[in-house]
Symmetry: C2
Subunit: 242 residues, 2 copies
């Protein structure tokens, strides 16, 4: 039973956290909206779910994962579902709850990073809210970025080689992805924190070195970061913290 | 083994979703930070966790629930943990995943509602970002509020009397809370949507009529909404959608 992922075809976004878990698990999946429209792909495949044209449970927004009769939305729910089925999650209940805590905190960071370029309205262009974005990014670099990185580094150091337990889980994949995204969006600000996050830096290298992850990142299936996604590089939003 | 909740003592915030589940479950709990400081309460009890002075897993932020050796953070993780133990969650895996989807979407709405009054910086006062807040709230009322309510109403109508399955779950409590919060923050905008959400309105009444929920809402344990929490009533942010 092949997984079917529904996510915007030209950007990483929240779907990328799901793609990484599917790829690291070595599970075949169809990235439906990246198929040609004549094969049922394109954005229309996603919009059909959003408009409620599919039967059964009504998901709110992509990413949506369809697996047999399961229709799952909300990225943390999907990552947990796939991870727990394919050895990318702790086996014990306490560990499973911790992996979700890491993922939900990664979601909080991701939301924060998104709002840097869209602080006022997701329905308006960046250029229409550039002034507020510069204020927001200044505050984020001064008060938020270090807070997020310090928590991730501290939680990792307490735990050991992986964010939760003794093996790589979907939580580690998500941490790699959010760090990659922040590096893309805010290279100057992130460089100023590099010396303070040695454990996280080592974790990223361990994740990237996993055979299936490395193969995915080098493949055409990995969409490059761009200015349509969550992590966007606008130089005027980046600077060293003062 | 009594639950210990760590959350800010003077506001509802994200802790209120947890309090509602504990109360509806009829479980005794200590709302630690609401105790006097000399009994180990006050904000210091929370800060001790945030500073990493407690052993074991490092939670990121309150709400934090301690239950024996379990230390849980992230509101959706806590609500799931308590709900699944005390008959306030579906028994089957698919239903459990759906309840989390509802809760995570409620979190998205809650984050949106928070950012109405703090679009630029959580480290600055509302008054310092009032102009951006007015722009954000205008966009929220025009594009977001109806979208959220339409999804909640449609998902409920498809499912039946409750958000997930055939009994009240923590998802229903969360939906009641977010609707109550939006009504407090944006009474004019919400009134304009009232006719379009009959199923949600009936759901709220069913939840409120539950004996334990009703007793809690009428008690002194229920902190009133106020302008320190997530849902804040600033009249300049409220209006009928145009």
């Amino acid at each position: 039973m092949t997984y079917k992922l529904y996510y915007w075809p030209t950007l990483q976004g929240r779907g990328e956290f799901v793609r990484l878990v599917l790829e690291a698990a070595g599970q075949p999946y169809t990235d439906v909206a990246r198929l040609p429209a004549e094969e049922g792909g394109g954005a229309g495949a996603i919009l059909s779910y959003r408009r409620g044209e599919q039967e059964g449970w009504l998901p709110f927004a992509p990413p949506i994962l369809v697996h047999g009769e399961h229709v799952l939305a909300q990225m943390p729910v999907i990552c947990r579902y796939v991870g727990e089925r394919h050895g990318l999650a702790p086996a014990d209940e306490a560990g499973r709850a911790r992996a979700q805590q890491v993922l939900l905190t990664v979601c909080d960071i991701t939301n924060d990073a998104h709002d840097l370029h869209h602080p006022v309205s997701v329905s308006a262009y960046y250029e229409e809210q550039r002034e507020a974005a510069i204020r927001k990014a200044t505050s984020f670099r001064a008060h938020r970025l270090g807070m997020w990185l310090t928590w991730l580094e501290s939680a990792l150091v307490r735990e050991g080689d992986w964010m939760v337990g003794h093996e790589m889980s979907y939580a580690d994949l998500a941490v790699m992805q959010v760090l990659d995204g922040l590096d893309y969006a805010l290279p100057v600000a992130m460089a100023s924190h590099r010396a303070g996050i040695p454990a996280l830096t080592a974790l990223r290298e361990r994740v990237r070195a996993q055979e299936k992850v490395a193969a995915y990142l080098a493949s055409e299936r990995r969409i490059p970061f761009n200015e349509h996604g969550i992590f966007r590089h606008y130089p005027e939003l980046d600077d060293a913290p003062t």
